[in-house]
């Protein structure tokens, strides 16, 4: 009995949190199936006049659905670049000491701390000069500013949890660095890579300020498209809610893939 008590408490706590986490989202989902008139006139837990109209608007209007495609494109480019450059760097930070290592590491972090508002104007001028305005690659590159440091940081943390003896044994066994890294080391830090990809995806997906500034038509992200409903005469609550619900979907899919890496942890099959 004494053993069961804390378990019960934890379950209750978890349940309460989940309710707290889901209620606002449920309210948005609820709203996305209502008409604007119903939202403003009555108050109910379930849509009285259930409608798919709001979703239909989004899927048939190119200015809406292309926003999703644009966002997904630059987020994917950004994730690939971030992880590719961050992996070797994180390894270097976790395994070796070299001239200025602590300073470079901290310098990377400072970029994660810079308010995007600070870089708005310079980015605009830089990408205009390079002729990259309104392309997916521009947003992907701009988001490297905060995603690369984050990826390096997370990966370094996970890599430091792996004993260095594993590396040394592998080198003694005659593994070259690339082969060791790809066949032995990478599988060991799968959890870390999963978490890093997840966070890169997340921060790139939700960022509004830079993505909106660097694009106008061809690469306009969904978050910028959504601000349109705010400026329209009177809020288009219903369409906004539907678009909001749809912005959660790609994220939910990504978590679903990553959950194994997080859940498995690095129980570490020995080399």
């Amino acid at each position: 009995m004494a053993n069961k008590q804390p378990f019960q408490k934890r379950t209750i706590f978890l349940f309460c949190y989940i309710v707290f986490a889901l209620l606002p989202i449920y309210w948005m989902v609820n709203m996305s199936f209502k008409t604007n008139a119903e939202i403003l006139s009555s108050f109910s837990f379930f849509p009285q006049h259930f409608t798919w109209e709001n979703y239909k608007t989004i899927f048939t209007d190119a200015s809406w659905y292309s926003g999703y495609l644009n966002s997904l494109t630059y987020v994917a480019i950004n994730c690939v670049i971030s992880i590719t450059v961050a992996l070797p760097a994180a390894y270097a930070f976790s395994r070796y000491s070299f001239l200025g290592d602590k300073h470079v590491f901290f310098w990377l972090l400072t970029n994660r701390m810079t308010p995007p508002a600070v870089f708005l104007l310079p980015f605009f001028q830089l990408y205009s000069t390079l002729g990259l305005m309104d392309t997916h690659i521009a947003v992907a590159l701009a988001h490297l500013l905060f995603n690369v440091p984050l990826a390096v940081w997370i990966l370094e943390g996970f890599m430091s949890g792996i004993p260095r003896e594993i590396d040394e044994t592998a080198y003694i066994d005659g593994y070259s660095f690339p082969r060791f890294f790809l066949t032995i080391f990478l599988p060991l830090i799968k959890a870390g890579v999963g978490v890093a990809v997840f966070f890169c995806f997340m921060f790139s997906w939700v960022e509004l300020l830079l993505a909106r500034t660097l694009t106008s038509v061809n690469a306009k992200p969904i978050v910028a498209t959504m601000t349109r409903t705010v400026s329209a005469s009177g809020m288009d609550w219903a369409t906004l809610a539907a678009a909001g619900v749809l912005t959660i979907v790609p994220g939910a899919i990504v978590i679903w893939f990553v959950r194994h890496y997080i859940a498995k942890g690095f129980a570490m099959g020995r080399v």
Partner: protein, 298 residues
């Protein structure tokens, strides 16, 4: 970074190089532009006057800035005080494996993947007294709740929104740290007859140290840069109750289009964050090292 001695190898720089180039391209070049603006009065694109440190002096004396900074500090500290313990508790209570674990993970992480302006909108809808669940429920319970009219309510709503939005980050990082603890540790603790608190204090907490450090720093930095959510929810009001630093900066740069003062303010803003994070980072490193020596002696 761990404090144990690592072999010196200058060739490791080659591994850093790609990251260095990427970040230099997107950070050093733009930062130089900001520095450039901060010492000039830009009257028109072709007419610029060098003004030295004038903007910096003006910004430092700005009364509104001091107030915004104070509000920001109180807000960021509140965010950490609520989200870190709550996130750790959540990480500890999440199931370890099975379908339940997967479902809970996805639900917990959901709020992180909602674009920030949508987060603002969700809470705007949720908190409104006429169409929102929270707003009308509070009203029915007898609270005279209004996040648009009452400064304290607005502040609390922004805090609650941030807790809702970002606690999962702490929880997920803590959870990933917890899953990295080998079962053998728990078995050893059971043999020793360790209490639940002892397991938490001497096994789980040290193992979560690295990820928790990330969580504290990230939450601190991000709450210090908070912009979109309060902008959508309260627009900085009522009065100035929820006008934080980024809000204030954007008002200056976009609203009044004073590039010089805005750039000077940006740099000061950046330096404040840098200083605070440096202190926090070193402090947490010191705590971690103390933990390690304690463990090795005990």
């Amino acid at each position: 970074m761990s404090t144990t001695t690592k072999p010196v190898n200058q060739k490791a720089w080659w591994l850093i190089l790609p990251v260095f180039l990427c970040v230099a391209f997107s950070a050093i070049l733009p930062l130089m532009t900001v520095v450039n603006y901060s010492v000039q009065d830009i009257i028109s694109p072709d007419r610029r006057v060098f003004v030295g440190t004038e903007w910096f002096a003006a910004v430092m004396r700005d009364q509104d800035l001091h107030e915004a900074l104070w509000r920001q500090m109180v807000f960021s500290c509140s965010v950490l005080a609520v989200e870190i313990p709550l996130g750790v508790m959540l990480a500890l209570s999440m199931p370890a494996q099975g379908w339940k674990a997967s479902v809970v993970l996805v639900i917990v992480a959901l709020s992180l993947l909602i674009p920030w302006n949508v987060v603002g909108t969700i809470w705007q809808i949720f908190g409104r007294a006429d169409i929102g669940l929270m707003g009308s429920t509070l009203l029915k319970l007898g609270f005279d709740y209004s996040y648009t009219g009452n400064a304290l309510h607005a502040w609390l709503t922004v805090l609650l929104m941030d807790v809702w939005h970002w606690t999962p980050l702490v929880a997920l990082l803590g959870y990933a740290g917890l899953r990295s603890i080998p079962d053998a540790y728990y078995q050893a603790a059971r043999i020793d007859g360790a209490s639940k608190f002892a397991v938490f204090r001497y096994i789980q907490l040290p193992k979560m140290r690295g990820v928790l450090m990330i969580a504290v720093l990230l939450r601190f930095m991000d709450s210090f840069m908070i912009y979109t959510e309060p902008f959508v929810l309260t627009g900085g009001g009522p009065g100035n109750a929820t006008t934080f630093l980024s809000q204030y900066l954007t008002q200056k740069a976009v609203g009044q289009f004073d590039l010089g003062p805005a750039a000077a303010f940006s740099l000061i803003y950046f330096l404040i964050i840098l200083l605070l994070c440096f202190m926090l980072y070193n402090w947490m490193q010191a705590v971690g090292t103390a933990d390690k020596t304690e463990a090795s002696h005990g």
